[in-house]
Amino acid sequence: MIDFLNAFVLFSNFVLVPGIAYGAQLALGALGITLLYSILRFANFAHGDLMAFGTMAVILFTWLFQSWGISFGPLPTALLALPFGIAITAILVLLTDRFVYRHYREIKAVPIRMVMASVGVMFLMNGLVRFIIGPNDQNFMDGERFIIKARAFKNATGLNEGLALKSSQALTIIVAIILVSALFWFLNRTRTGKSMRAFSDNEDLALLSGISPQKVVTVTWIIAAALATVAGVLYGLDKSFKPFTYFQLLLPMFAAAIVGGVGHPVGAILGGFVVAFSEVTVTYAYKKLFTYLLPADYAPEGLLQLLSTDYKFAVSFIILVVVLLVRPTGLLKGKVI
């Protein structure tokens, strides 16, 4: 029984809790991609670098606040800086929309041209971020690091294994729940949200009923910028901020959006968790877990790791391939938000 509990705690500590936090971060990113897809009808390759830009803006504000001596008690200062970072990021995306994407919308270019333009924007943003903050790792987490420390947990329960809950993980989950509920309330209950859904369902009909496309597009960009910034900041608090890592997050986020069904917000959230849990479970070494669960004679010899951590991107790719082969529409069908 004790062995079983130990195994469960071990599993929670290394798979369950990190998986939930990572899944929530991916889900927020994938939500942005899915929203942009259903309104603007193209896959935004610049999303990873948009996250990087938003996070960078927040980091700069955090440093400013820290230099002023402002802090947020036990919570990270980055939370205070978040609204300012979102505002800057929103301005940036509206500028890119005005000067890049709007032209292609007006000439009704094929979607792949928009995708290509977004690749151009991706490199522009990537360069901007590296230019301003540099290509290196930045750690901007301050405040209380842990809610439950592994040692304290061991002492309190008397188990061999400790369960650590980082405050960034708890924060991720809480912020993600608040943000997602607000987003769904907005889409389902407010006038603007309803007009967005109408626009994504049938553009021509929406135009006829007097919905302003420019307004819908602007609101979508602002929401996407906010989601990307929050996702990026949460990821950065949880791990650390490095522009190249954020660029690489693009693939898991796309996988999440496609797994769930492109254009489907619930699907994006589901997809985020599917991708995150597959990544964590596949790259976790199960040796210790099975040592607890199996009788002593059967204790495994190898690491029992399905895939080395260097290949975690392969996981999202394999998921992507399987979905494209088996069910190209994604788990939840639909193109309407």
Binding site: L124, G127, Q248, A314, V321, L324, L325, P328
Partner: protein, 455 residues
Amino acid sequence: MSNALRAMTGFGIIGILLIGVGMFQSWNVALAIFNLCLISGVMALGVNIQWGYAGLFNVGIMGFAAVGGVAAMLTSQPIIYSAWQAGGTGILVSLVMVLILAAAMIFLSRKMRAGWAKNIVMVALAVGGYITIRNVFDPAVLAIESDNPAKSGYLGGLGLPILFSWLIGGVFAAGVAWIIGKIALGLRSDYLAIATLGISEILIAMMKNEDWLTRGVKNVTGLERPVPYELSLQESPRFISWVEWFNSSSLSGLSDDARAERLRQLVVEGSSIFVKLCYSGLFLSVLLIVLALCVLALASPWGRMVRAIRDNEISAAAMGKNVTRRHLQIFVLGSAVVGIAGAMLTTLDGQFTPSTYQPLRYTFLIWVMVIVGGSGNNLGSVLGAFIIWFVWIEAEPAGNWLMENGTAWLGDDSGLRAHLVDSAQHMRLMILGLVMLLVMRYSPGGILPERTRQN
């Protein structure tokens, strides 16, 4: 200006610039730039086949170039018998098992009716097969990697001439492209972009981690060369007499000692120029062959058909053209050309270093070349490759110089100045992104727009 005139002016300007670099910097630098211009030209042609002919957006050029590089390494390196003895059988057996597993899965997925039973069988097969294969594969890998790890620790190659690898690089890249295309083509157009982005990252990760095949980050250096070595040239009497004859005017009238000293310098310099010229000849012939084939293909009925598909898929399909099939064909052909260029690049470098593959250099830069040069126009892509590569190389010293002098008014101890000077290298990224967006928006045809005949 007509296209022909534009092309001549464009190549003329690049030629003059290269000669200028040769006269004022050094001929070695000029030839090094020229050689990479040629390779980039081949790569840009490959991308142009995909984007210009068919509108397929490949964001994974880096991956295909790297596959070509692996091919160059695997073809030319000598076979390492001890490693094969240690784990060769294990690797081969697991390879056969992978093929059997794949065949079984494809067979079952065609034969079984959709439903829960099928899903369970497929998943069980995949997981069970994976674990079994790992059990054969892992010990073999361990055996190979522990065989003389400081010097080899991998299986080696085939020991064939490296020129042969350019073809093999094309074949390898085509194989990867076929698999990706089979999965992603025929679905929504952006899925191909996402899939290629993913596969290129994974291919690079594999090359960095599968030490038994590529030595990983330990790199494979000292690849065989298709051209003579500088040192052997410097010792060859015939080469020395050539250099003497070529420079006879500048050597005459010197005293014996000064003459011998000068000749020695000229031979050293001449040998590396000679080697680069040999490479230029090889690359130029590949570029011209690929270019000629591309021009012929685009002018043929096949070329007309693919352009028709690009411009209106629905009507082309209504005329009985198999759109997905043609897309797959074009995607494979274009990737093969990129693979050839990748193999050429590794040959020129003389070493295979997986960590040098970066999306910026190998994917994005090539895209900018094609877009600036003129998508859909073969000669345009080559011209774009020449221009952008020249700018890319010369922009670094220019950017640093600009930053140094532009921020001089801030004073030497200014933190902002230090930061700006440090970040000057990232400016290239921003500027090229900007160039790409501006050309796409204001001059979508590029420098040499595609010619469309209307009658």
